[in-house]
């Protein structure tokens, strides 16, 4: 077996953000379906939330190459 442990590290780093993104987008869809008139506001806030959650996954991706 050859390879780098970094790849495994990146795999682990995706787990948390994946769960977070699933919950976040699911809840946003739920609230958009319930109140379509608030969809614009919910979408904007959802993207901000996604950006914050995604940062963790991206740190994992970059550090897999960097370290």
């Amino acid at each position: 077996m050859e390879g780098s442990l970094n790849v495994l590290g990146y795999g682990l780093a995706t787990l948390g953000p994946a769960i977070g993104l699933g919950m976040l987008i699911g809840k946003a869809l739920e609230s958009m379906a319930r109140q379509p008139e608030a969809a614009g506001m919910v979408r904007t806030t959802m993207f901000i939330g996604i950006a914050v959650v995604e940062a963790l996954a991206l740190l994992g991706f970059v550090l897999a190459f960097a370290l």
Binding site: G3, S4, F47, A55, L58, F61
Partner: protein
């Protein structure tokens, strides 16, 4: 470890394609320019960036050189782009943020076209896939929102507001102050840069792999050519997906900068 694992089983020699993954992003300087003793190497990345900037400048000049009340085709398209950013600003900051529309439009268009080089034929390389570009954009964004904060709330008002958020028990400041300072002043620009960079670098690798698969596998007759056909079918899908990512990243960068400006305009 940089050989592609998928090729190992099929005896695919990817070594002559690229030995090191950095080879996808690093290019030797085509020529060097000597400015005040600094040797500036001009390579493919910077040439693409120059070309794209020139293209945007020409399009915007043509569109807004003689603005009409009833816009022509080009003017309507470019006004649509400005209107996207204007809507973002109105939603997040409100009417008092309209003076930031020009700089945010610059961010949006610059990031969009620099990313677009990733799927433009004969370029196929995003300058934002090199960390210098996202980092530079993020530093500009940082300067803007810190500058706005200092201007609106005063130096001590702004940094005091970050370090000691109101409505918190005094004991908690021991934990909260370092976290707030680091997350606002360091992690914000860092994640802005890393988000854009990582998306573009990953996208570039994905596009390269999709393009290399048919080239390597189609000639291998026994079974390998099936994978080559799969690669050809995959191509347009990957390009469409990358186009979506390109637009999304430009949108998110612009929107987050607007959010940061908004958060420094009023005290917490």
């Amino acid at each position: 470890m940089t050989n592609i694992l998928a090729a190992a089983e099929w005896g695919g020699e990817f070594d002559d394609v690229f030995v090191d993954i950095n080879a996808l992003f690093e290019f030797a300087p085509l020529f060097t320019v000597d400015i005040f003793g600094f040797e500036l190497g001009i390579n493919r990345t910077i040439l693409i960036a120059w070309f794209m900037s020139a293209l945007v400048a020409v399009i915007f000049l043509l569109a807004f050189r003689q603005p009409q009340v009833v816009p022509g085709k080009l003017q309507a398209i470019v006004e649509g782009i400005v209107d996207i950013v204007r809507t973002i600003v109105l939603e997040i900051i409100g009417p008092k943020g309209l003076r930031f529309v020009p700089i945010l439009t610059t961010f949006f268009v610059a990031i969009f076209v620099l990313n677009l080089a990733k799927i433009t034929p004969f370029m196929m390389l995003p300058p934002t896939g090199r960390v210098a570009w996202p980092l530079f954009l993020a530093v500009i964004s940082w300067l803007i929102f810190v500058g706005v904060g200092i201007k609106e709330q005063g130096f001590f008002g702004y940094f005091g507001g970050i370090a000691f958020p109101s409505g918190v028990p005094k004991v908690l400041y021991v934990i909260l102050t370092p976290i707030e300072i680091v997350s606002t002043l360091i992690l914000r620009p860092f994640t802005l840069a890393v988000r854009l960079f990582a998306n573009m670098a990953a996208g570039h690798i994905l596009v390269v792999i999709t393009m290399v698969i048919p080239w390597v596998f189609l000639p291998s007759m026994p079974v390998g050519w099936l994978l080559g056909v799969f690669g050809i079918v995959l191509g347009p899908v990957v390009f469409g997906f990358e186009l979506f990512i390109i637009g999304l990243q430009a949108y998110i960068f612009t929107m987050l900068t607007a959010v940061y400006i908004d958060s420094s305009m009023e005290a917490h």
